[in-house]
């Protein structure tokens, strides 16, 4: 057992560092650092994705045959760590980590050939149509209907919490194609062109003032039958596969470390009245540091199992649970440190494009919105309560 990287791995790390140093402009770095949402704004993502695409590094987890770099698990770890440490923009996972893997597994060869390259190039921007107003944690109870008429499905209903629907040109969605005794059995997986007539988008504002999520309405929207992924009525299988990917596929500790370093930087600066001098702040930062170290090691254990070709098992719920809690702890201590500067509410977005000087320094400006948006960490993508249910059931066999 060893925590050290091999010489080869160290060479790879240097290569990644050199790439980032060359391609991440100071403007892009600043804009990315001022991003307060879950995902970076498209205008930040686009130039960075172009740079990665030129190098073939857009989708670290994809196999070579589909345009991935064919990296080992350790290489992927190194890449994610270096990107996080440098504060690069975060590419939307909805194409690369969600629909991409689903298509590789369940898609027809036409679907793969058409969609996968467009994900890598950034030509397609995807959103996810899962939750509905009455079906949040209880996803299988969804009600959006797709009725087959000739070579089209006609879709009626509504999806909610649709992140970046207002930027996306495509949606993958779970829809009900029949009523079966077991709710899961009547669900199908459809790819929907967001330009289709009959789609309207209602923005949902976050308490921070951000516009990330939306409600999407479908009124007699026609979707070609060729846009069905997998078999009709078997969409739940694709959906579950994707959810597993959403929960477990992520490597979170490097991003948490980046967030923690930012807060630590604040603690060491006059912007927080040098809060690090206070024992309670210094020890809180140490406690969070230890939580990040622990999560990091748990993630490395998963990676090590993957590298050996083993299945790491249902550990993804553990990782999601802890990552979301740590994320909130980081943003919370940030708010504590900035004192009465937390009183100022800045709802204009994006922060990096503000023209006038805000009332509080730029480094402080993102602290409160990040904390507010961070409340969603333990809710979106399977709430902490759902994760504990899963651990009790799947890990502990209860």
């Amino acid at each position: 057992m060893s925590l050290s990287f091999t010489a080869e791995e160290l060479r790879f790390r240097d290569e990644v560092r050199a790439f980032i140093a060359a391609r991440l402009s100071p403007e892009l770095r600043r804009a990315s650092s001022l991003n307060v949402s879950f995902f970076s704004d498209p205008d930040i993502v686009a130039p960075w994705q172009r740079a990665l695409h030129e190098r073939g590094w857009v989708a670290p987890g994809w196999p070579r045959e589909h345009g991935g770099p064919g990296w080992t698990a350790t290489q992927r770890w190194i890449f994610e760590s270096e990107c996080a440490a440098a504060g690069t923009p975060q590419l939307s996972p909805m194409g690369i980590k969600m629909i991409g893997p689903v298509l590789m597994r369940f898609g027809t060869s036409e679907q793969k050939k058409f969609y996968l390259p467009r994900i890598l190039s950034g030509e397609d921007r995807w959103c996810q149509g899962y939750s509905e107003p009455g079906s949040g944690s209880d996803l299988a109870s969804l009600n959006t209907r797709a009725v087959r008429q000739g070579d089209h499905y006609v879709v009626n209903g509504t999806k909610i919490w649709t992140t970046h629907a207002h930027f996306a040109n495509r949606m993958f969605a779970l829809v009900r194609t029949s009523d079966e005794p077991r709710q899961q059995d009547g669900i199908s997986f459809l790819l929907i062109d967001m330009a289709s007539p009959g789609i309207t988008i209602r923005p949902i504002m976050m308490i921070s003032g951000d516009h990330d999520v939306n409600q999407v309405f479908f009124d007699e929207v026609e979707v070609p039958v060729t846009n069905l992924v997998g078999e009709e009525g078997r969409g739940w299988t694709c959906g579950k596969y994707l959810l597993e990917f959403e929960r477990g596929g992520g490597v979170n500790s490097p991003k948490l470390r980046y967030a923690l370093e930012k807060v630590r930087g604040l603690a060491n600066s006059g912007l927080s009245y040098k809060a690090i001098m206070l024992q309670e702040i210094a020890t809180k930062l140490s406690e969070i540091e230890l939580d990040v170290q622990t999560l990091e090691f748990l993630e490395l254990q998963v990676l090590s199992a993957l590298q050996r070709g083993e299945n790491p098992g249902p550990v993804s719920s553990v990782l999601k649970l802890r990552a979301s809690e740590i994320h909130q702890a980081i943003s919370r201590v940030g708010v504590e440190m900035v004192g009465q500067n937390a009183l100022v509410e800045e709802t204009r977005r994006p922060l990096h494009a503000l023209k006038d000087r805000p009332l509080i320094p730029e480094e402080v400006l993102s602290v409160v919105p990040r904390h507010l948006n961070g409340r969603a960490n333990t809710i979106f993508g399977g709430s902490s309560e759902i994760q504990r249910d899963i651990i009790a059931k799947q890990v502990l066999g209860l």
Partner: protein, 382 residues
């Protein structure tokens, strides 16, 4: 020993509840928050009509002689309804300082106008390199034959945009050494710059810059004693009042969550059918009760004739205990609302943000915990 509210106290609560129900229902409140002043002037006039603006002032100057308990009752109801009127800044901070430190003339000139709602005041004290200690003031006032000149910058000035007069703390260089003084600065005084922004969860907040700001000779509040102990006392009382407000906000968040979890269904049954959620609601309920108890206790103590150490212990204690409870209730309320909880479509987020303001105002929970430990240790050691 009797914790039964008096009839007058019950009436005060009822009238506050009526006001909140009529003028702070969600639509009206959102509307008030959009006002450039952060509140509606007609509500302020209503405050005056109801006698609230004079509540804590002595009867000699036209007030009603109420104490921390009565102020707590009002503030708790303001918290429940998330009122955005500048009661804290005009009445409980600046007004109280005028009443405590002002000359008879200054009191007569200002208090009746505050009480009848004509004039609004802000209290400009904190500076950008001060953490929470009230003595960290670098703004300077220089005396000459024409009056005073002020230099400095104040941050986190609550509701300054609506104020006619800013009450500004400053140091006097020279003879008086470490002493702190307060100055009445008219909003349109030369050399005063105001930069205003929305405040988290409602109201406004500003930065005030004094660059060679010229003031008349009697702009100084009072007769020359160091005002720091009085500022400390008034801020402690403000913390106690804010504690009651926080307890009211918590209760509203709890009630909303209880209702939501009864109605909202997942997996074919209400959220509240889940034992984990039931227990969490039980804990939130306990915390709401604890917060309310601690706010009432602090108000009763401050109303009694206690020394300054005991007063500071009561204020810091309330801030810590209620701060802890408030954080958990606020976070759990959002969590139990699920995705809806993080959107601006409910009012929950406004309460969440206002409770962050409670945490941030006048020193963090950790600051007050440390202060409590120091004062408590000292007072025991005697």
């Amino acid at each position: 020993m009797d914790l039964t509210p008096s009839e007058a106290q019950q009436m005060l609560r009822h009238s506050a509840q009526r006001f909140i129900a009529e003028r702070c229902e969600p639509t009206a409140r959102r509307h008030a928050m959009q006002d450039p002043m952060g509140f509606k002037r007609e509500n302020w006039r209503k405050f005056a009509d109801l006698g609230w603006l004079g509540l804590p002032f002595p009867e000699e100057v036209g007030g009603f002689g109420g104490g921390p308990v009565e102020v707590g009752i009002l503030m708790e109801e303001f918290g429940r309804g998330l009122a955005t009127e500048p009661y804290l800044s005009t009445v409980l901070l600046a007004g109280a300082l005028v009443a405590e430190c002002g000359t008879e003339e200054q009191q007569k000139g200002l208090l009746p106008a505050i009480i009848n709602g004509e004039r609004l005041l802000s209290f400009a004290h904190y500076e950008s390199d001060a953490r929470a200690g009230l003595s960290e003031v670098h703004t300077v006032a220089q005396r000459d034959s024409h009056g005073w000149t002020l230099y400095g910058r104040k941050i986190a000035v609550l509701d300054a945009v609506a104020a006619d007069v800013h009450l500004v703390s400053a140091r006097l260089p020279g003879a008086q050494g470490a002493g702190l003084a307060l100055f009445l600065v008219p909003k349109d005084a030369a050399g005063v710059t105001l930069r205003d922004a929305p405040r988290l969860g409602g109201g406004r907040v500003a930065e005030l810059t004094f660059d060679h700001a010229r003031l008349v000779p009697d702009a100084r509040l009072g007769t020359g004693a160091d005002v720091l102990p009085t500022v400390q006392s008034i801020v402690d009382r403000a913390i106690v009042a804010l504690s009651a407000e926080a307890a009211g906000m918590m209760r509203s968040m709890f009630d909303a969550t209880l209702d939501y979890t009864k109605v909202r269904k997942q997996f074919g049954r209400p959220l509240a059918a889940n034992q984990v959620i039931r227990h969490r609601l039980a804990d939130m309920y306990v915390e709401c009760e604890e917060a309310r108890a601690m706010a009432a206790r602090a108000a009763l103590l401050v109303a009694a004739d206690i020394d300054s150490t005991q007063r500071s212990l009561a204020a810091s204690g309330a801030k810590v205990k209620i701060g802890r409870c408030a954080r958990n209730v606020a976070e759990q309320a959002v969590q139990l609302h699920g995705a809806m909880g993080v959107t601006d479509e409910l009012d929950l987020g406004l309460y969440f943000k206002r409770l962050l303001v409670f945490e941030a105002l006048f020193g963090s929970v950790d600051h007050h915990l440390q202060r409590h430990a120091e004062l408590f240790g000292n007072s025991r050691a005697e």
